[in-house]
Amino acid sequence: MSTAAKMIQGTPVLGKMFKVNGNDDLASINAWPSLIIMTSFVWLAIALLLGVSMPIIQYFGLNIFLFEFYTALTLHGAAMTFPFAFSLMVGVSLHRAGACMGKKADGPLVVLYYIFMNIGGLLFTLSVLAGFKITYTVMFPLPVVGAQMGVWPMWSVVLGFTGIALILVSMIILYPIQILQMIFWGKKHDELELSPRTLNDPGMLGMLIAVLVLLVSGLPLIVTASSVLLYLYGIFPAAWIGWAVTPVVFQFVFYIFAHNLMESMAIMIVSAVYGTLPLYLADGTRKLYSDKLANAALWILLITSVTSFFHHFYTMFPALPSTFSFHGNVMSWGTGIGGAFTIFTILATIWKHGLRPEPGVMMILAGFVIYCLDGVTAMIIGNVAMSYHLHGTLWVGGHAMTVLLAMSLMWMGVLYHHYPVLTNRNPDADKCRQSYRMYFIGGVGMMYTFMAGGAMGIPRRISNWVESGYMGIGVFILIFGLILSYGISMFFVTLSKSREITT
């Protein structure tokens, strides 16, 4: 039995939900993906607890251990984005890639991914507990400035950067290379090829585009961040890294990656939707309305998204020349055209062939609706004029949160679809329906609450809601946060109530 299967078995509670048969033919596409997914849900539980605690921390002015606002904020954002949302995607997509191409998903790169992502997450958590409160966007040069001002110890910066570096390597190098290897080089095993697909298939094309985006947009950050890290370790002299610690250099390479990370995750999930939706068509067609249109949407998303990252810097004119602002504006709205293509493809497919409303596919569609709603919020802050009233408010934080919630819900739907093969058990359909309904209400409610907060001018990342008269919004965040948490816990129940498939 593989190490991964043993680790799952040894895990209390969650182990039961993700138990795989570690000895059968499919173990090599099931065991590690299942472990990665299971661990991502542990991080989700932590992120959820911290998220719900934030309005409570604000209201009572708490300052105990994890329950201090900026600690909770930093850990919530980091846990939600990297070891949860990204890892959930990695786990499900590895299984998907394996089953579509008949390739193993348990090589050294997968193992290293798992170790780097989770140890990285742990190290970063420890550094935050030691005082390193920088939010999940790092806000460079804040890490160094904070240490110089004595706000947090220098060793926490070293620890935090080590964690960040491990996470970055796992996302930018290990995972993309693993997928590329599965697409192009790995040895094919016929017994693993459960639903064969080629690169002409939008479901596979999107996966390829997504990992290439990660690799290409992330490499500059790997070079920059590792230079800083090697300096922190005392290996590089200060003279070598002057360029890397220039705030504008670090910020730009950071956002070129961070922005495209989200875009690549979006392309990846859209392609998974393209791959999964046809399997639930009522007339048994098993084909999208048009593969061409679907692929066109992916290409448009790719081309427009890569350089739309300028929208993170509109409000620093003229340091960001207006040419780049306008370019960012046009490209940001261009992603909307890609989105419109996707919406058309999905609706035309459903309209033409009818839909079997199984919980998995409905969950995916619920996530897709949130994803489209969020896309509009993104385009609005992607407009230069509107950005000058909204940048740095809850609107922006709400957009980041909502896109992650949307993608995660879609991945949970895709997981529901793959779960029987993954674990040889059928998940509980009724609980799943409850789960996505509550998740949808909670997620959409949170989105509108954050957008309203942004419209009101509430700054994001401030710990004095009560004093500033913003607690009303906090109450709504708490209410919808609890509904969302209920929806997510119902998903745990969906999996824990699964029943063995007997043939």
Binding site: V145, V151, D283, F317, S325, I337, M386, H389, G457
Partner: protein, 185 residues
């Protein structure tokens, strides 16, 4: 109306709903109909699809272009550049932001006369955001340390009052308290 859309956070919220509501109605109706009412093949003739496709994409494209083209004159970089070139006299306020306070060359400006704000950061990334006395954001600026030229914006205040200044870029554990006041007379 356009002033409201492009100069007020709630205007942006209205634009949001303008796109959201038709989408939600459209999407949910189709899914509901084809998943729960009648999953049988739909009667739409195959040659009709490309027409609907073109209609849908062009509607979206026109809306997108409209929203963006109409916004151009409201873009602060555009109005700032125009005013700087026009030779209109303006007041100047120079700002240096540091953790967690502002050094400002002046905290009082005149109503109706353009003010040129030039802001720099002395340590980490900060924001310089001016709030109208009614609570909405008049404008926000992002200040990146180490830049040669300051972040610049020209704004003409139409109403006197006390305008709150806040940092909107997370800058550490006292970020929330990084506030100041600008008086418009």
């Amino acid at each position: 109306m356009r002033d409201f859309i492009y100069e007020d956070g709630w205007g942006a919220f209205v634009v949001l709903l303008f796109f959201h509501i038709p989408f939600l109605i459209f999407f949910c109706r189709i899914v509901y109909k084809k998943a729960f009412v009648n999953t049988g093949p739909s009667g739409t003739a195959p040659e009709k699809y490309p027409k609907i496709e073109i209609m849908w994409i062009s509607t979206v494209a026109v809306l997108f272009i409209l929203v963006n083209v109409l916004s151009v004159v409201y873009m602060p970089p555009v109005s700032t550049a125009a005013l700087t070139k026009s030779g209109t006299p303006f007041q100047e306020v120079d700002i240096t932001a540091k953790s967690w306070y502002y050094d400002m060359s002046s905290r009082e400006v005149e109503v109706g006369v353009p003010v040129k704000f030039s802001a720099k950061s002395g340590d980490t990334v900060h924001g310089f955001s001016v709030y109208h006395p009614d609570g909405r954001i008049v404008f926000t600026m992002m200040l990146m340390p180490g830049m040669e030229s300051p972040t610049t914006l020209v704004h003409t205040f139409e109403e006197p009052g006390e305008y709150k200044v806040r940092c909107l870029e997370y800058c550490g554990i006292v970020h929330h308290a990084m506030q100041d006041l600008l008086v418009v007379r």
